[in-house]
């Protein structure tokens, strides 16, 4: 039983990462009606930026905050420059555009930082804490905590601020929102910014576990897709629950049916096996 709970908690850690990325996908989907295939690459790029900040001697949490700010600005800029001109075009056009972005950002990451796998420091200790006979890793708990805090802050923002209300209104009914004076175009850009920041959170949380490399988020993006679809694509709560459930489920399946976990894990879009520390 101790092993079961240990696996649940470590499943929640991966689940929290899937959940944040899935929520990022849902925010974009609700506001722009497209699946952003480049969401994972944007997160990877942001995580590399964080690595650069850390490399220049900034300590973890300030670097974390700085990365979020840059990711947010980048998301806003991307929407304004690339997505805005194809607003209202067929879904396929926009999907291919985001696939183009995926390739472009992945290439840019490799160009700037090289393809090597790097260590990314964790803000949490990997020391276990013991509850009864079970041992939980502080890192796992920290990851779940950070992801859930990010999700919770975002929820508060959507529910209780004027801007959050405008974002929701623009997502459910853009025509009507214009009539009450909401600048819908900027709301979409804001949605992209928030998604990019949320993706950066998941990137910085997963990097210490899987190591930092340019294809790091590709496998995770697939799970985030699955989580978002499980939750119904439209529903932020569904995406979060879907992500957490998927994390726990995969971890338990991997523990109790060893053949399943190893082989069915996708290795990312560019076909390299991710390094995973166990």
């Amino acid at each position: 039983m101790a092993q079961f709970w240990q696996q649940v908690v470590s499943g929640l850690a991966s689940g929290g990462i899937y959940a944040s990325l899935a929520l990022a996908l849902v925010i974009v989907y609700r506001s722009s009606g497209v699946i952003n295939f480049a969401q994972g690459e944007m997160a990877t790029f942001a995580t590399f930026l964080a690595w650069t900040f850390l490399h220049h001697g900034i300590s973890f949490w300030p670097a974390f905050a700085l990365t979020l700010a840059v990711a947010f600005a980048g998301g806003v800029a991307l929407e304004r420059v690339v997505i805005r001109p194809v607003e209202g075009r067929p879904v396929l056009t926009v999907v291919i555009l985001t696939i183009g972005l995926l390739i472009l950002i992945n290439g840019a990451t490799q160009w700037i930082w090289g393809g090597a796998v790097r260590k990314f420091p964790s803000p949490f200790s990997t020391r276990p804490i013991h509850v009864g006979s079970a041992a939980f890793s502080i890192q796992d708990i920290g990851i779940v905590g950070v992801c859930l805090v990010a999700v919770a802050l975002l929820t508060l923002f959507f529910r209780f601020t004027k801007l959050g209300l405008g974002l929701r209104a623009a997502a459910v009914n853009p025509e009507e929102s214009r009539l009450v004076g909401v600048r819908v175009g900027w709301m979409l850009a804001l949605g992209w910014g928030l998604s990019a920041a949320l993706g950066a959170v998941s990137g910085m949380m997963v990097a210490p576990v899987v190591f930092l490399d340019p294809n790091m988020m590709q496998g995770i993006l697939l799970y985030a897709f699955a989580a978002a679809v499980l939750g119904g694509l439209e529903s932020p709560v569904g995406a979060v629950v879907g992500g957490l459930a998927l994390g726990v489920l995969l971890n338990l399946l991997g523990t109790y049916f060893s053949t399943f976990g190893g082989e069915m894990r996708p290795t990312g879009l560019f076909g390299r096996t991710a390094v995973r520390r166990v």
């Binding site: 209300l165 929701r168 214009r178 009539l179 009450v180």
Partner: protein, 235 residues
């Protein structure tokens, strides 16, 4: 003094189809103006031309400031609240959130504003936490109206407020409109199928026919006009 809203030779089109062929009209400060006409005459399009939700050309001005190049958001910020046909509330958002969105263009504290507006619509106050989509048709129309009032607009544009509603509900909506006009000096541009109601509420009326103004004048004169009576009032 310039009128509050003035349209001069306004044209509008949906793709290749021209829906307005040079409409001119004016709404004075504190005045209720009715737009009458058959289906497809261009009443709704006239409102949409003002709010910028259809492609338009010509001159449109609000107290001298031109609107014809502004986006719908900017027109709303200039002080025009447009309640489109079919209510147009945010069905997934609560009544209170709908009201807050109404005040989107206003800066600063809105203390007491919700209470002021809700005083006109007690039924809404009871349902303040419900999603707007769960309201009845009449309540949704009231919510749309209440939301528009939250903006403290200089001009209210109402499209078919009586559509699909029970006579009693319609009567109370028009009573509220009359009160707002008389007590608060709210100017209204009203599109209405029910010409009898519209001519009672309005001081001035315009009759549209296939995209241009066929007749205009004080509401009382139009009511007395033989052709208007036969075509729109039915007696």
């Amino acid at each position: 003094m310039a009128p509050l809203l003035e349209l001069e030779d306004v044209e509008a089109r949906y793709g290749a189809i021209k829906a307005l062929h040079g409409v001119s009209l004016a709404v004075g400060e504190g005045e209720v103006v009715a737009l009458l006409g058959a289906n497809g005459a261009g009443k709704t399009t006239t409102l949409r031309a003002v709010s910028g939700t259809v492609r338009r050309s010509g001159r449109i001005s609000l107290v001298g400031h031109s609107l014809e190049r502004r986006s719908p958001e900017a027109v709303a910020r200039a002080g025009i609240a447009h309640v489109p046909e079919g209510r147009g509330t945010f069905a997934e958002l609560s009544v209170r959130e709908n009201l807050r969105l109404g005040a989107w263009t206003r800066r600063g504290r809105l203390h007491g504003e919700e209470e002021r507006v809700l005083a006109y619509f007690p039924a809404l106050a009871e349902r303040i936490r419900q999603p707007a989509g769960t309201l009845s048709g009449g309540e949704q129309q009231m919510l749309a109206l209440a939301r528009a009032l939250m903006a403290r607009p200089r001009l209210l544009m109402l499209d078919e407020p009586s559509l699909g509603l029970a006579p009693l509900v319609v009567a109370s909506i028009f009573a509220i409109l009359r009160h707002l006009n008389e007590e608060e000096g709210l100017a209204v541009l009203l599109v209405e199928q029910n010409a009898t109601l519209a001519l009672e509420a309005a001081a001035t009326a315009y009759v549209l026919e296939v995209g241009h103004v066929a007749l205009a004048g004080p509401a009382d004169d139009l009511r007395a006009d033989e052709s208007v009576r036969r075509s729109y009032l039915g007696y």
